[in-house]
């Protein structure tokens, strides 16, 4: 008999549910309870592209040390509430782990394992006895298993009652009925099993002042703080909640107190082409505008992105990446739109990208992107992903400096146009400051001066149509210069030099950050030490180039099949490809620690074997 797993504040629990049965709010209640006990937690929805009926899972990692990325491998506890997926769910439990199931129907003998603890609680039957209404019976079954967990894991029952009071403030009857459901499971577990089981929870102060929020909520809020007034969009998973969040916050914070009217305009367009068309039209006309989409939307927006690049119009585009290509895996995560975004559209185009890794960066990068896009007069694409966008993450509280101002970039308003000296002629594409960024004017600014024709066709420095080669090349070269200017303004990489003598480094970006600290700690235990660089934007700055130059071997860890960041680094920095080694994970689930550690070790041992082979 394998010894049951013993741990305090360190486990992974997985809830297996049926989509559309109201399990989400119960599962969320569990994560919130862990958070409120002061223990770091990362809940993750694993859901199908479906409204109702298919299996869905909610995986929660609880870790006192704050390691919140996916561990990989099996889980310590499964709460199995879906008969459809029972076999898979039993198989997911680690040896020594715990399998909690609804014993209203007996567990098929074929599924029994003797290396795990099987805990049967008749949730359906308990709720059938307690509640008369069918809907209540379905919903409260979920709350009942949370109650059982409170007993089994020794979670303070008070934490739940406080959360329920907060959640259902003003609806006391709901507090009462939910508490009843919680007690059903709690009492049954207490009475029937020895509580707590080997895995249990203790109050802690490891959470500190941190918050628990999803990336899309933070991105939408960032757009409010960044001053966005116009949003054209088209619903697509997993980006939809960015605009929903922006809309919700605007309804609270952007209502003109005198008139009750809105200081924002959100229009759900007919498709993604139209969504980005709105952004381009609004930005051209001097408003801060954005849209959010995912891979298929980026493909559709590509022509317009080329126009915005060439005509030099600010665009803020939040791309919450999912599994591609084509419709791919709409409810799974990946970092596979990198090259499609960096070079979106035909012709020689390059776009500015940023890579947030946590909700705080979602908020900050979104807010700052309006300054950057207007300063640079070009599209800026924020590369989030489903893992970050749709799951709650523990992160530092959001901050705002009240003495900030918006940087609206180089714009000549009526007064400046009026004061142009004799002989000074406004030219939309004149590089006055030698940084590749020219001055623009908003429509309607001045009766006589500053009007020009914006076009996607080639033009001279005064925006007049021309197909003369010299004018075209002059313009394209200036755009390259502007791209270099961009590298100085966008978020710098986070570089950690553990030791200058290390010859090896890891390079990563976005949500891979969630597993990196834990992976590096594990590698260190095996005597492998690395410097690290988290890329936060493209085009790459000199700092990025120097870091790469300074190491003999760099493991580029990313969540796509083709090593797109590695390609981009090689392409843009012209560094030796043999020094950049890909560590890849792209099955649609977020990269786990074991993929990083395994990927690096396998590579190193393969090389060792090769060397040994050569020597003999």
């Amino acid at each position: 008999m394998i010894k049951p797993i013993q741990s305090v504040n360190d486990f992974v629990i997985k809830f297996a549910n049926v989509n559309g049965t109201g399990s989400a709010s119960a599962n969320n209640l569990f994560a919130k309870a862990v958070f409120n006990m002061g223990v770091p937690v990362s809940p993750r929805n694993i859901f199908p592209s479906n409204i109702q009926g298919l299996p869905t899972w909610y995986e929660v990692r609880v870790n006192q040390d704050g390691y919140l990325g996916r561990r990989g491998g099996g889980v310590d506890i499964v709460v199995a509430m879906n008969p459809q997926s029972l076999a898979d769910d039993v198989a997911a439990v680690l040896p020594g782990g715990y399998f909690i199931y609804d014993s209203t129907n007996p567990l098929p003998e074929s599924l029994r394992r003797d290396d795990i603890q099987i805990i049967g609680i008749p949730f359906t039957e308990l709720c059938r006895q307690q509640f008369s209404n069918t809907k209540q019976r379905m919903l409260f079954k979920n709350i009942a298993y949370i109650g059982a967990l409170a007993a089994l894991l020794d979670i303070d029952f008070e934490v739940f009652t406080q959360l329920l009071s907060k959640q259902f403030k003003g609806k006391e009857h709901l507090v009462t009925s939910n508490t009843t459901a919680l007690e059903l499971g709690y009492v049954y577990a207490k009475k029937t099993f020895e509580c707590p089981i080997g895995i249990r929870m203790e109050k802690s102060d490891a959470v500190g002042d941190k918050i628990l929020v999803d990336g899309n909520t933070a991105s939408g809020l960032g757009c409010v703080y960044g001053g966005a007034t116009v949003c054209g969009w088209y619903p697509i998973t997993p980006s939809t909640s960015v605009v929903e969040s922006y809309s919700r916050f605007c309804e609270r914070m952007r209502i003109d107190p005198a008139s009750g009217k809105k200081r924002f305009g959100i229009v759900q367009m007919e498709d993604e082409l139209a969504a980005i068309g709105v952004v381009i039209g609004a930005s051209w006309n001097g408003a801060r505008a954005f849209t959010a989409t995912s891979g298929p939307g980026v493909s559709l927006m590509s022509e317009f992105l080329g126009l915005a690049y060439f005509a030099e119009i600010p665009v803020v585009l939040i791309n919450v990446q999912r599994g591609g290509p084509s419709t791919g895996m709409p409810t799974r995560t990946q970092q596979s739109d990198l090259l499609a975004c960096a070079y979106a559209s035909h012709g020689d185009t390059k776009h500015v990208l940023t890579f947030p890794a946590n909700p705080k960066e979602c908020f900050e990068f979104s807010a700052e992107s309006f300054d950057l896009a207007e300063r640079l007069q070009t599209p800026l694409i924020i590369m989030s992903d489903l893992e970050l966008g749709m799951n709650d993450w523990l992160c530092d509280p959001l901050e705002w400096k009240d003495d900030s101002q918006f940087d609206r970039g180089k714009v000549l308003h009526e007064e400046q146009l009026e004061n142009l000296k004799d002989g000074e002629r406004f030219g939309r594409y004149l590089d006055v400051d030698d940084d590749g960024i020219c001055y623009r004017t908003y429509p309607g600014a001045h009766p006589e001066k500053g009007a020009f024709f914006t076009r996607g066709t080639s033009r001279d420095r005064h925006a007049l149509y021309t197909e003369e080669g010299a004018h075209y090349v002059d313009n394209m070269e200036r755009l390259v210069k502007k791209h270099r200017t961009a590298a100085k303004l966008i978020p710098a990489p986070i570089i950690n030099i553990d030791d200058k003598r290390h010859k090896m480094a890891v390079v990563y970006y976005g949500t891979t950050d969630n597993v990196m600290a834990e992976s590096l700690a594990k590698l260190e235990k095996q005597g492998l030490k690395f410097n690290s660089m988290r890329l936060r934007s493209y085009p790459f700055s000199d700092e990025v180039a120097e870091f790469i130059e300074g190491h003999e071997r760099l493991f580029v860890v990313e969540q796509n099949r083709d090593g797109q960041m590695r390609t981009l680094l090689i392409d843009e920095l012209e560094c030796d490809p043999s020094r950049l080694v890909s560590v890849l994970h792209y099955d649609g689930m977020a990269i786990p620690v074991e993929a990083v550690v395994g990927g690096i070790i396998n590579n190193l041992s393969a090389e060792q074997n090769r060397k040994t082979g050569e020597a003999s």
Binding site: M253, R254, A274, G277, Y442, P443, A451
Partner: protein, 351 residues
Amino acid sequence: MTCVPKSKFHHPQLPVNELGLTYRDYEGSMSTLCAGCGHDSVGAAVVQACFELSLPAHRVAKLSGIGCSSKAPTYFLGKSHGFNSVHGRMPSVATGANLANRELIYLGMSGDGDSASIGLGQFAHVVRRKLNMTYIVANNGAYGLTKGQPSATADRGSLMKGGKEVTDEGIDLVSLALSMGATYVARSFSGDKEELVPLIKGALSHKGFAFIDVMSPCVTFNNHQGSTKSYDYLRDHMESLISADFIPHKSEITVQSEPGEAQDIFMHDGSVMRLRAADESYDPCSRSSAFAAIEAHREKGEVLTGLLYLESGASHLHENLNTVDKALNGLGYKELCPGDEVLKELNESFR
């Protein structure tokens, strides 16, 4: 071909409008369209309309897609900002521009390829969104820049240059605009300035989506025997049903129209569209009446022109969204950024 600015020289005694501007002040650069192109006449009608309305040109934003018609805005209103966007997508750019600043006048210039072929989706949606703009399609049934292919408005059974018969059904943009909820719908002919100029003036003064389908022959690729979009064919088959006079709000309305003879429709700014229907049973404020008339004339092989439908006082996108009266692009940091105190409260709600 490089853009050629037009000479600003003009006769010292050219008439001036209320802003002290002459007709020449509303022109753009030299046209590079074919000599005799209907689109240049449409541009001239826009110039005439803006001049007569005494519009400050810089408060007009010109938007277009791609094609001969979409090049046309370069050749009128040189003091306005213009935006030549991508093929078939001008409506979304116009939507964004309009959202950003509701105080400007938006003039969309498109073609039959741009609006009925590649851009049919965006066209339909901008109409149903009731964007406050004037949308002109210079309609010649053919692609010019790619040399004469039929567009989606080419009539079934008509002949393209070279004799090939059009076998697909032609799209009637006027009927489409009507069914999608346009609140000002007109059709005219580039060769009939008398009719076209008042229609453009009315459209520019209309609050809501104003659509004008202007038959504008392509002299190079679609002006031959067998075409239904040629100058000859159109002159023979145009049936002007509803003539419209635009009476600006500042003018005193001296002659009251007799009931039954003409119908005065007040615009939001107090100006008046005075409509005369050749057929007494026609009610230009009735959508079904417009549909019936368009269809009846189409069956007879005629092209119905004039102001076919007008709904005054209908709401437009900004009103439907309930946005503030001030232009959104004019709101400042204090009006837009909620600040750190609010963020602190939000942090608390995320715990």
